[in-house]
């Protein structure tokens, strides 16, 4: 409520932890954050706010929070740290990383981040200022989070696209130009439990209230499935077959937009021939979805105009994620739903201001084409994977962890780990990552709280500021806006502040360009013509009509291509249903289906031994990945590390609701508390990821229970595809489940499996 003074800012990262975008009012009394409210004037959330943002005070003033730089004084894993000054901390980083750079080259240091938070900008800036090409989402098998989807979109239509919820228009859904999608396909996501990829999840419910009908494609029933016209409960990892089957129905029944295809697309005949290889009976056998349901869903989507697709990360995690995404983009392309009101709108950073470099073009604009090319010579995976070499700047995470242990083709000696708890979170084959990080000569952790990763491997810890304590900028996607600090907590510093200071030490030329973080932000804002001071206090800006970063129908207006001609930013200028770029990268230019690495079809013997498909990663509205288990208001809403198991399966295994069970395969065994529920398919189990218990022993060997609870102990690394992207098997790992009986609760007796990290 409007009491006291407040600072108006935008949520992106530490605190809610998410991909962000919500307008916040941060209330301050006597220098202390006392309350958080949604900003009702902000176009993104219009006053609404999620539980994680509403619990911000418990996060900011949590008793376990890192408040000062710390250096390790015992052995790694003993949890013995000593407070040091920022000067000493920064000197140490400069000295240790400097020595490694001198001895082995800058590429010997990996700069590791986790999910799509407001860390991508600062960490890539530090990585490149240091001179390393190895900016890596370490632990993320198959690099399967959004990048495979982004690659598919970039090489198909030269741009990214998202469901149009009016987010690019100042008046939102009330804008006279806007139209609500008649049909929304919610594909592999539960938008109620978080705002992924910069998309406010409840925009889908806003559309439903305005009449949108739903098609839901998911292995698991969600709130959205229960309200869908069609729910397709597919076998995990078979999304490509389903998309190709739908394309086949749409093409063979003539339901596509002939005019759009003729005028703007290329490769339609080749796509039609490929789709014809996926008749309904074949697709039904692959996906477990009845043929008639597939046909009806395809018709419902194709006959609605506009229609839009809201998709999730399981697509990236499917076998060859890039090609699954490519098949789905073709659905919106051939139905003419691209860049129209209520369809799939082309999404560019507002005013082409680059914050977190999402594309090769943005990297070029920030660092120059020559520099990016030079970085590619040593970037991990860039020689092996041509797509990866020609897209963005990431190192390939699976090759990175292998190289940290093998030293081939060149040694990796240090890891800068910034707000990512990979051992409690995304690291597939957790033990492999544990060993790789232990193999480093020097590890720096920048974070807010102790966690399994900081405890196991940190030599130096730098305390990161939360959203309430930092200046930053955001252009993902619109509007353009800046973040304002409301309070100072301990000696915490923002990711930008830490990284700018170190970047200047590693690249003294930067001293002339940027004195403060604000200087850097103003520099990045230049393409917009605005400054930090002009944007602060809620003065966010939307691009004007008929400019490249605002919809609609930009391909007709010549707003997408650098040469100003109509068409798309692809090699041929057309929307390439047959991708000439993929062909150049030695990939299939057309989408195809491939079986998951482990499945009842590909590995029947393994499936006989481990008959259940473990689908990890279902979202909880009160947690963001491995965060927030330590926030009392949030944890009590979702207290236990559970496994969702179908009543029939539970009955066959003699398992009751609420009892502790073992989940295992040849890679290991974890324990979870059974939640018996019909929302999962009898042949799958759903295992929420990111579980560790901050209330338990953190020092080795326990590491807050990760060796007992982390589902990624059971998951292999990737990649599953010639692109280097996709095929992190987080959704398709085969497991068995058994009863544990009495006294099997987690958090106790962790010792029996705790030593597994050493195996």
């Amino acid at each position: 409520m409007a009491k006291g003074t407040f600072v108006r800012t935008t949520a992106w990262s530490p605190g809610p932890g998410c991909h962000g975008g919500c307008g916040l009012e941060l209330y301050v009394e006597d220098g202390r954050l006392v309350k958080v409210e949604g900003d009702q004037y902000h176009p993104y959330n219009q006053g609404r706010l999620c539980p994680r943002a509403l619990a911000l005070t418990q996060y900011v003033y949590h008793p376990e929070r890192f408040l000062y730089p710390l250096k390790r004084v015992g052995e790694r894993g003993e949890g013995k740290f000593e407070r040091i000054s920022w000067d000493e901390a920064l000197d140490t980083v400069e000295e240790r990383l400097g020595e490694i750079r001198d001895k082995y080259g800058a590429e010997a240091v990996i700069f590791a981040q986790g999910t799509g938070r407001d860390v991508g900008g600062p960490i890539s800036f530090l990585c490149y200022s240091f001179g390393s090409p190895n900016w890596v989402q370490l632990g993320l098998a198959g690099h399967s989070c959004y990048t495979p989807r982004l690659a598919a979109m970039m090489f198909t239509h030269g741009d990214y696209a998202v469901l149009d919820a009016g987010q690019f228009l100042p008046e939102g859904m009330a804008d006279p130009e806007y139209e609500v999608p008649k049909v929304i396909v919610v594909w592999a996501q539960n938008p109620a439990a978080g705002c992924q990829d910069g998309f406010y999840g409840h925009w889908v419910t806003d559309c439903m209230k305005r009449g949108s009908k739903l098609i839901v494609i998911d292995p698991r029933w969600t709130w959205f499935s229960s309200r869908a016209e069609k729910f397709l409960q597919l076998r995990p990892g078979t999304d490509a077959a389903l998309a190709l089957g739908m394309l086949n129905v749409i093409i063979s029944e003539g339901l596509y937009d002939r005019e759009f295809v003729d005028e703007w697309c290329s490769g339609f005949d080749e796509l039609a021939a490929r789709a014809a290889e996926y008749p309904l009976d074949r697709v039904s056998a692959i996906t477990w979805v009845p043929a008639e349901d597939i046909a009806q869903a395809a018709r419902l989507y194709a006959e609605a105009r506009p229609a839009a697709i809201q998709w999730g990360v399981p697509i990236d995690m499917g076998p060859s994620g890039t090609t699954i995404a490519q098949a789905i983009t073709h659905l919106w392309s051939i139905t003419g739903n691209l860049d129209i009101p209520g369809g799939q709108v082309i999404a560019r950073a507002a005013f082409e201001v680059a914050t977190y470099p999402f594309s090769t073009q943005e990297l070029h604009s920030l660092y120059g084409e020559e520099f990016v090319k030079r970085m590619n010579e040593k970037r991990i995976g860039a020689q092996e994977f041509k797509l990866l070499r020609n897209f963005r700047g990431w190192g390939q995470p699976d090759r990175a962890v292998e190289q940290m242990l093998s030293g081939e083709p060149y040694p990796i000696k240090a890891c800068w780990i910034q707000t990512t708890n990979m051992l409690g979170g995304q690291a597939a084959d957790t033990r492999l990552h544990y060993r790789a990080l232990k193999n480093m000569e020097f590890n720096v952790v920048v974070d807010c709280f102790p966690n399994p990763t900081s405890m196991a491997v940190a030599d130096l810890i730098l305390p990161a500021a939360s959203i309430a304590e930092k200046e930053s900028l955001r252009s993902w996607w619109s509007p353009l806006q800046v973040m304002m600090p409301a309070v100072q907590v301990g000696e915490c510093r923002s990711d930008w502040e830490i990284n700018l200071e170190l970047a200047k030490r590693f690249n003294p030329e930067l001293r002339r360009r940027f004195d403060t973080v604000k200087d850097l932000i103003d520099d990045r804002l230049k393409p917009s013509g605005y400054t930090f001071d002009e944007l602060k206090d809620g003065h966010w800006k939307f691009p004007e009509k008929d400019t490249p970063t605002r919809p609609y129908r930009r391909y007709e207006k010549g707003l997408l291509r650098p040469d100003g001609r109509p068409g798309f930013r692809t090699p041929t200028g057309r929307l390439e249903l047959y991708s000439t770029s993929f062909k150049e990268f030695d990939m299939d230019p057309l989408p195809f289906f491939t079986e998951p690495p482990e499945s009842e079809v590909r590995t029947p013997e393994l499936a006989a031994k481990y008959p259940l498909v473990m689908v990890s990663g279902r979202r909880s509205p009160v947690f963001f990945h491995s965060e927030h288990r330590n926030i009392p208001w949030l944890r009590e809403c979702d207290p236990d590390p559970i496994v969702e198991i179908h009543p029939d399966t539970a009955q066959a295994l003699g398992i009751s609701d609420g009892e502790w069970v073992a989940i295992f395969n040849d890679r290991g065994r974890i324990r979870r508390k059974a939640k018996v529920t019909p929302i999962v398919h009898p042949k799958t189990i759903s295992v929420p990821h990111g579980w560790w218990l901050p209330e338990t022993q953190g020092t080795e060997p326990d590491l807050y229970g990760i060796w007992d609870l982390n589902c990624n102990l059971l998951v292999n690394i990737g990649p599953g595809d010639a692109s280097g992207y996709g095929g992190g098997p987080y959704k398709t790992t085969l497991v068995a489940v058994k009863k544990l009986g009495e006294g099997a609760a987690a958090g106790r007796g962790a010792g029996d499996t705790a030593k597994r990290g050493e195996e």
Binding site: K3, R48, L54, A55, T205, M208, W221, P621, W633
Partner: protein, 109 residues
């Protein structure tokens, strides 16, 4: 003064827990005290699974008297991610309810 209440269009409650935490923050309730709870009523009927949630204001709900006196909406109503809660006079809310299937009306305390 006319009796005030909460109209909850539970068909739209997605179980996001925003109301729960908004209430705790507003009243400074520690973990273990709830002014509003969200219950999961997921069930299987005839081959379909119906995922439904229902927010339940507890005996601690005071309809955010301090906020409403200052012209603000209750914390849960304002922050509800799905916008499925309305604060107002019970009689008025009941009239809205006539055209709002799958909704409930609460008149706490």
């Amino acid at each position: 003064m006319a009796k005030k209440g909460l109209l909850i269009h539970y068909d739209y409650c997605t179980g996001c827990m925003a109301c729960v935490v908004a209430c705790k923050q507003e009243h400074d309730y520690p973990a273990g005290r709830w002014g509003i709870m969200v219950k999961d009523f997921t069930r299987e009927t005839e081959g379909r699974v119906q995922v439904d949630f229902l927010p339940f204001p507890t005996d601690l709900c005071d309809l955010c008297g301090r906020r409403t006196a200052a012209g603000e909406r209750p914390a849960c109503v304002k922050h509800c991610m799905a916008g499925c809660m309305t604060y107002g006079e019970v009689g008025e809310l009941a009239r809205i309810m006539e055209t709002m299937p799958r909704s409930v009306l609460f008149a706490p305390r």
